[in-house]
């Protein structure tokens, strides 16, 4: 497996982590009611979105590489 393929695998796993942690934060907020947990969850959900956008861009850029 090349670095480009492994990088895409890494991004996919990172998106899954971000979604899991995001949902975990929101659930903690529902249980405890602390805004810190909510902020934590929202940060990771936004990170998941950012990583998906980055992943789509990087796939396109990789095709342009020699």
């Amino acid at each position: 497996m090349s670095l480009r393929a492994f990088h895409i695998v890494f991004i996919v796993v990172s998106v899954m982590l971000s979604l899991y942690v995001g949902v975990w934060g929101v659930r903690q907020y529902r249980i405890e009611g602390t805004t810190g947990a909510l902020a934590f969850g929202v940060i990771f959900l936004l990170a998941a979105v950012a990583l998906v956008i980055y992943g789509m861009n990087v796939v396109r850029k990789f095709r342009e590489l020699p």
């Binding site: 497996m1 492994f6 990088h7 890494f10 796993v13 982590l17 899991y20 990087v58």
Partner: protein
């Protein structure tokens, strides 16, 4: 294809019952994928190494699962550990994976200056990770939390400590590639670029381990 010859003589039987003969082993540095393995030798080597690393960390993850499921009580990571610092470290490592790919991509495009800049950013990310981790450790020690305290802290320190050593190892290699190792660019650009790719594969693996460590140790 370029080759290198090991200078260490290997004793072999000289045919007269004596082991005093010498034989030289040639290890080829292939720059392009070999038809039999589908990859150049350096990449095959790093994947074999990473396979052994999967077994090492796999054994530790299995140990954690067995200890946790068999323990009558187990503390929640988010109650004992510093989540904001670990979150920051997570983003630092994800960012460093992006910069190491950018370094390799720029080298593929023939831009050594940009390649070295992105390698330096990756090295700084590794340094930032280690500084934050040392702050986390220092806080734990101040609160008298040691590996001997309980099984939770034993697994926490062993797994994050071993991971930290891997980060340190990657930083040393990046330092070499930015510094004295960069001389190879003048004589063999493809080989230098391949070295960065192989190091990038290792770095991605180290980051991937953290991606699993973070939720398992800190959140569950």
């Amino acid at each position: 294809m370029t080759t290198t010859t090991l200078t260490h003589p290997v004793p072999v039987d000289d045919g007269h019952g004596h082991g005093g003969g010498h034989h030289e082993i040639e290890i080829p540095y292939t720059l392009h994928p070999r038809p039999d393995t589908g990859m150049y030798n350096g990449k095959l080597g790093i994947w074999l190494f990473l396979a052994s690393e999967v077994m090492l960390f796999g054994a530790l993850f299995s140990t954690l699962i067995l200890l946790r499921t068999s323990a009558p009580s187990w503390p929640h990571g988010w109650q004992e550990l510093n989540i904001p610092l670990a979150t920051l470290n997570t983003f630092i490592l994800i960012g460093s994976s992006v910069t190491v790919v950018l370094a390799w991509a720029n080298l593929r495009l023939g831009d050594l200056r940009k390649g070295k800049i992105f390698l330096s950013i990756t090295l700084l990310c590794g340094l930032g990770f280690m500084v934050i981790k040392s702050i986390e450790y220092a806080t734990k020690f101040r609160h008298h939390h040691f590996p001997s305290t309980n099984n939770f802290f034993a697994t926490y320190f062993v797994m994050t400590g071993l991971h930290g050593l891997h980060v340190l190892g990657g930083m040393i290699v990046f330092g070499y590639l930015i510094g004295p190792g960069a001389k190879l660019w003048e004589t063999n650009r493809d080989q230098y670029t391949n070295r960065v790719e192989v190091t990038g594969l290792y770095w991605h693996f180290v980051d991937l381990v953290w991606i699993f460590l973070f939720p398992i140790l800190y959140l569950l």
